[in-house]
Symmetry: C2
Subunit: 228 residues, 2 copies
């Protein structure tokens, strides 16, 4: 009771709407909106309606409007949302502005694929070094990157003040490597090893567990066949 009175009494100040932490599902949609807006912009469109976005993301139009309202993107009745606004604002919210230096650990097939992929530069991702503990790989080139020995990783992180690591090592060594990265001051780990990493709460992890995606697809196919 007392609490609700307090809340009622307090003046509603115009808080920057980004401040409250977004739930995961919302973030996922926001990232999709952003992606669609970028692509639509490249195709020469200038406005997107909540209905069209909803259609592309397979979600209710009301939710698109709510999401947009939540991040402070305002649309125009009868027209829709201005694509420039969507890209700018969602880019801010998602933290896609500026460059993000990262190290990549593990130059196996997946690691080199990621090192070669240029699409992430759109998000400001920049690899300042790629590393492997296998000395046979050290010195080889992956596009413009030279594979460096793990021994050099520590100083690269320190010198470039790297905050983010991409982890593409075998499952077995993923956790110890992550522990080591955390000790070097890494704040975010994009993990492609099929393990759920344990890290201190100040470190953020995104587990890109591809096997889980495969399992989900196999389940869906199986369901569809069973229904028949």
């Amino acid at each position: 009771m007392a609490r609700s009175v307090t809340r009622e009494g307090a003046k509603r100040r115009p808080v920057a709407k980004t401040e409250k932490k977004m739930p995961r599902v919302v973030l996922k949609r926001l990232a999709r909106y952003h992606q669609i807006a970028v692509r639509s912009g490249e195709e020469g469109q200038t406005y997107l309606s909540s209905a069209s976005l909803a259609n592309l993301v397979a979600v209710d139009a009301t939710m698109v409007r709510k999401d947009m309202a939540a991040v402070g993107v305002t649309g125009r009745p009868k027209v829709g949302y201005f694509i420039g606004d969507v890209i700018t604002r969602l880019g801010e919210v998602l933290g896609l502005v500026g460059t993000h230096d990262a190290v990549l650990i593990g130059c196996g097939s997946l690691g080199t694929a990621i090192a070669r992929y240029t699409g992430f530069s759109r998000f400001g991702l920049k690899l300042v070094g790629i590393f492997d503990s296998d000395h046979a790989k050290v010195g080889k080139a992956v596009d413009s990157h030279l594979i460096l020995p793990m021994e050099k990783c520590k100083s690269v992180i320190r010198i470039f003040k790297v905050k983010m690591a991409i982890l593409t090592v075998p499952a077995r060594v993923a956790q110890p490597t992550a522990d080591w990265l955390v000790r070097q001051g890494i704040q975010g780990i994009w993990n492609f090893a099929p393990v759920d990493l344990r890290v201190p709460s100040h470190v953020k992890v995104r587990d890109e567990n591809l096997a889980i995606g495969l399992a989900q697809l196999l389940y869906a196919i199986q369901q569809a066949n069973r229904a028949k």
Copy 2:
């Protein structure tokens, strides 16, 4: 009203619990349990408690028990769940039994990385052909696979009765390629192009949109820094 009466009146038959479709979030957890069980088994453990699973998946122990009950895995008080049961039953539910033939379309860096990766064979995934429309790539080897021309894809799908495709083509051609695959009778697409594919409802798609993962990580890192 009438409906609820009908439901009440109907005898509760012991339906195989798998039949009702699992929500996405649940599936994700099930796939993780399976992964953990496999790994724990390899390490020589024989039982897993709901608490330990909950800890590894960062979820409430009650939910683990509910999930297990939902798929029909029964545990033993004071002991936990028998790892063999967990692997077998979850494998069945997720459709990880038997082999799943698949074609891979697009032998760029990500495509070849996936073609090289052997970890998915654990789920019964078997590549019966890898394809590229770039004739300069055709004939080259990716481990034990030879890159085939797209022109051959149709007959491979027909001859091997392939139901699943892995799509690792550029974003631009992803949708038309998917449309074509659907016409060839493909039932499931594992899509790595950064586009949400539109397919008929009888075709299942898993969008493995890595850029969304990156965006989510960047957001989390940004949030953590802002909080300070």
